[in-house]
Symmetry: C2
Subunit: 136 residues, 2 copies
DNA sequence: AATAAATCCTATAAACTTTATAGGAATTAG
DNA sequence: CTAATTCCTATAAAGTTTATAGGATTTATT
């Protein structure tokens, strides 16, 4: 399961993609009310997305958020990794968040293989789906 | 991520499949020590697997656990659903644990589609992989 | 009948994660 | 100077995970 936070992030980005031709930045307050996301929680999410250069922000009056790269170049894998961490179902099979399984000798690990397959299939779907494509 | 509990369940079942030709049932204590699983925690797991007819058990001296159906007919989906619940990444996309997303009108949900695709791919892998196949 | 050895069951708890909320600081436009 | 926005830190409530404790129950054997 992805977290609610991650769902909020995807919803927020999709909302922004839907409105990407506006001349002004988008307020967190607008996204929060239109998408039903708690405002302060959403602020934290948007800040994380800005920290990894998915978004850019402007403070002060008439501030708000914009994409830092076109939404058809932002893939779900990137967003999900930022918000939720690993996509793989086992730590020892994660590409971006690898961690060894403690008491498990990996060379002979019985369950590793199938979860590598799942990871590959999942990444090939989520890594080829852009935020923009969710709008269309 | 699957839980440690689920990993323990898969490891335990794999261990049992590896030893499926024994004439006597297998003790939880043996599995616990050989696989490095906390004994009491493992007992709870094995009981759950017995409750759903994956295993059968005998109490008392010379008791222990056996498969209730051949391990080549036990698929990872079944085990994972018993222990961890839904396999899908979104509640509204789960086949066995469906739950509606609260403030999300599903007909127009932007993110639902891609997670259905992920679910289908994941199920086709995990649903065709048996416990027995992990041994081979 | 007594004993040993196994599963079964319930309650509890420590640690961690998730999902926020509160209160303001900093910045910017007008 | 004011209003409106993002930014930041601390806190907390609730839920989940990962066990542990202590025995109850069952069964085979002696």
């Amino acid at each position: 399961m992805i977290s609610k936070k991650c769902k909020y992030a995807l919803k927020a980005l999709t909302f922004m993609a839907k409105n990407k031709d506006r001349s002004t930045p988008i307020f967190s307050s607008e996204i929060a009310s239109k998408e039903g996301i708690p405002k302060k929680f959403l602020e934290a999410i948007l800040r994380e997305l800005r920290n990894v250069q998915i978004l850019q922000s402007r403070r002060g009056k008439n501030g708000g958020y914009r994409f830092n790269k076109p939404p058809n170049e932002i893939y779900l894998t990137e967003v999900m990794r930022v918000i939720d961490g690993p996509i793989a179902l086992l730590p020892c099979v994660s590409l971006n968040y690898y961690a060894p399984c403690e008491a498990c000798e990996e060379n002979v690990c019985s369950i590793k293989g199938v979860f590598e397959t799942v990871r590959n299939e999942t990444l090939s779907i989520l890594g080829n789906t852009s935020i923009q494509s969710l709008v269309n």
